[in-house]
Amino acid sequence: MFKFNDILQILAFFALLTLLSPLIGWYINLVFNRESRLPAFLTKIENYLIGFFKIDATAEMDWKTYCFSVLIFNFIGIVFLVLIQAFQQYLPLNPQKLPNVEIFLAINTAISFVTNTNWQSYAGETTLSYFVQMIGLTVQNFVSAATGIAVLFALTRGIVTRQGKSLGNFWNDLVKSVLYVLLPIAILFSVVIIGQGVVQTFTSYADVTTLEGAKQTIPLGPAASQIAIKQIGTNGGGFFNANSAFPFENPTPLTNFLYVLFLILIPSGLIFTYGKMVKSSKHAWMIYCVMLFLLAFGFFVSYASECSTNNVFHASGLMEGKETRFGVMNSVLYSTTTTAASNGSVNAMHSSLSPMAGFVAMTNMMLGEIIFGGVGSGLYGMIIFIILTVFIAGLMIGRTPEYLGKKIESFEVKWSILAVLAPSFVILVFSSIALITKSGTSSMLNSGPHGFSEVLYTFASAAGNNGSAFAGLNANTAFYNIMIGLGMLIGRYGVIVPILAIAGSLVKKKITPLSAGSLTTDNFIFSVLLFGIIIIVGALTFFPALSLGPLIEQLLMNSGVSF
């Protein structure tokens, strides 16, 4: 049954999100477009950094140069991460003397953190040294989120520039995102959560004797600094294996609430920055409302499903695998937002969600992580859907489709379709490969629909760069490490490259001023159509797969069968 307190909390959550997002958006716009108003000491650091790395942060980049910069920067990031994992034994800050990481796992983890996925085939506390966590993973937590922001702004410049060539400068965008947006928020946030009890220390793990007299090793580490950025940067890779279900990572109801809020806040704020840049805050609110509606809809389906009676156990509100300290509602709210926002940190085990709540989690990821989605990537993913909607709506009103004054022609349609196709390909084809190979099926813990969901969820998470796991699947095998790694690459760059190509094409175009005959993209009717296109394209692509996974499981469960 719905609880009054639960409803109150969820309303507070939506209200706070709606209040804070425009503020964050305003601030990010300030950083990128009103440079003169930034504090002098920070600009000094910025100039020092730019001087130190000898980068030309003023050079205007066309889409190919911009794209190349993104790819080369991310490639170097992957190589560096692989190397420090493979040789962590010889590197400092390894008090537990953890051995070098096996190569496929290292590659998987490197790709995972560079692509902002943070899929973890490993358990942090038994696999990675403090050095790798801090110098490797935390740095990528920052720059992978910054990459998302940079690509989004490149696209935005493509939309607002009149017959130009330049999409801005990747290095400049990168440094600004980290220095002015991610770092300050992360520092503040980590101080707050340290105050709540999240650990931040270089000491080795504590060995204690429990009340029953058993020996227990309690993992510690510089966690807060990584956790802050993993929440705000939609990374989600936990310092500890249990992620936000672990008390040192998520100690209080307040941190839990803040984690949920902050994992969605920057993607949500960027919508309003975008609105400012394209000079249409109404358009931003339209996007926000569609995303919020999708999120709220998913949450209530999940919550209602958890609250309804399970016919296998003849009970409702089952606690197995849930965040026992904060209750079912907070587990479901976390699972819905973390899959919607491409964060991937968890406070409950998604395998234990009711099938329909799992259905929602998977759908959130399969739609392409566009319900707020990743930092930057969520909005540019949504813009792909907006372009497709504009195309169909534009035809329906009898005009060559235009988005914010830019004509949408075959080039844009081609790359948009590619951006939709790439993640879908990963989810459907990679799941199929896993289901028909021995190395794929041998990792499955469960049989039947639940086993099927484990695989489907894994590749949805990889393709959407989400990073959360369904649990149950042993993903730390050569097969899965490679397949998931490949899936994450395709899911990330199979969208980034099309986005930049589209930006490169749009930037050259004229801007047609609005008239009574042109399509308005900020009204109710357009949002209905956008919602319809997202649901129908998503549903048509994944409905068969979902009906064979969580849907059939729910139906079987209703008749008292479980797996």
Partner: protein, 696 residues
Amino acid sequence: MEKNKKGLFDKAIIKQAIIDSFTKMNPKLLMKNPVIFMVAIGALLSSFLFVESLVRGYYSGFNLQIILWLWFTVLFANFAEAVAEGRGKAQSDSLKNARTTTTGRKLQGNKEVIVSAIDLRVGDVVVCETGDVIPADGEVIEGIASVDESAITGESAPVIRESGGDRSAVTGGTKVISDKIVIKITTNPGDTFLDRMISLVESATRKKTPNEIALSILLSGLSIIFLLVVITLRIFIDFYQPYSKIPSSEFASITILVALLVCLIPTTIGGLLSAIGISGMDRLMSHNVIATSGRAVEAAGDIDVLLLDKTGTITLGNRMASEFYPADGVSQERIGDAAQLSSLSDETPEGRSIVILAKEKYGLRGRDISELEAHFIPFTAQTKMSGVDIHPENGGEKRIIRKGSAAAIKDYVISAGGKFDDKIQQRVNDISKSGSTPLVVAENYEALGVIELKDVVKGGIKERFAQLRRMGIRTVMITGDNPLTATAIAAEAGVDEFIAEAKPEDKLKKIRDEQAKGYMIGMIGDGTNDAPALAQADVGIAMNSGTQAAREAGNMVDLDSNPTKLIEVVEVGKQLLMTRGALTTFSIANDVAKYFAIIPAITAGLFAQSMNKGPLSALNLMHLASPQSAVLSAVIFNAIIIIMLVPLALKGVKYRPTGASVILRRNLLIYGFGGLLVPFIGIKIIDVILTALGLV
């Protein structure tokens, strides 16, 4: 053209189209339409498997039915295209015949032969006399004449054209109003326009328009996604084999999967896409407009700003007499009478308007010319006057009346010793300033007064512009008039903007300015000096009566030379896109119902306690009788919806000149929500029929 309009389905066209449906099975032709090509490959694959199983001694009537309907789907798509093509061809054939062509008097040796203008070629020599329309661009090689070039310059005063020198070029469509000239033709006529137009309605040579290409990419992309969905679905189902009593090769056989694929890929819009394009061109032709490219027709739907010449477009091309201003001591009736007499045999529109004005104002009836024993003096380029000499032999009053430009009459009066009042000169100046044209009337070498010739705004034009405004199109009037007159006419006609005292190069500048702001510009023009502007505009419509240069520069030609035709052109352009958009939405929305028919059918056997009653049967919302009938019903629905929508594809989605949001809401409601609902009903009905007939 209206008289040649065919019914939507002419018998001869249908017959030919049915034949063409089969000849279009040629893989080379099919390949042009990726969606339908995919259906054909699927049908071929299933047919092959069917034959192969027959050889092994296994026969499935269900599979046979599916295969037949798959082939029907391809045939129906071909048929839609063939019908559109047939109608287009019929239209262009009748266009060729019905087109009223100017004729020329071609000189062959010493003989004159009347030939159609389109048969004239470079080097031919023609003769033109008073009243003749010059059939094509050329050079005067003999004689001198005054020519009315208002069709090209917008200037109603006649110009002199003579052999030799700078003034020897004449343009087609202009009219000789006095004397006789011999012209050597210098350009081939624009019959190539027709050829180009015909190529737009024949699919073999038809080039896809930009939006059509973009849509094809979208449809192909969706088809690829669905191909992935269907192939992986079989793998997913195979994974569930342990939970099913029936082998997956049976309930998810290749034939059933092909059926699912065909239902999912957007065959409705895919099958009708080229029919929509062809019939758009066809509709354009039925308005007597010839386009040189499909791209231009699509662009017409995007026009934001429309540039119009005042003369001939907004106002009637020729000036009309609006007022008589008598000199001091002259009565209104006297000047009216003199003006009317002098114009009785003046067949120019101005002349006729003077007769009419006198009749309306003073009740002066047109008199019998022969009774008057009058001798009419026609306008010549030399005298720049026309008039009448009345010498009644029975001794009545002798009257010599002349009318003409102020300068000519002044010379004429003063040289004869008469007087030309300063007040008349003052009046002439006033009228000129206000943008009208003054004509002075003189009788017996005495200036009687001034006739004001005024521009008259065409009836109904204001409503047309209001309609354009509702469509989101801004109208800009271009005129050589002074700002005062321009303001008055602009207000009367209801244009949004005007450029007064415009020089020919101003048009080009205005177009470039607006284009730089991002607007799409449509322009209608007819003159040689319009040619650069017509070429620069995104949509340039040349009047058929205009010059060859203008016709070559524009991308459409209006055979009726009706400047307000642009509204229809815009409508055709918009309809073209709207029909594509609406049917795409419909096609995609249809898929939802097809999923609810086929997915439960394919997965019914999983975890089934009894036959075909697994948990996913819950998705069988339509309660279709059996898995077989569900699949077959969906395939049949998918095929016949193509045929049922052929009339819509040919006629186009209804267009009303309203704002974009209203149109979107309307189309979304009809084709979006309609597209969701219709197949649920349709598939259910087919299922009931199939079950009743015992076909499954």
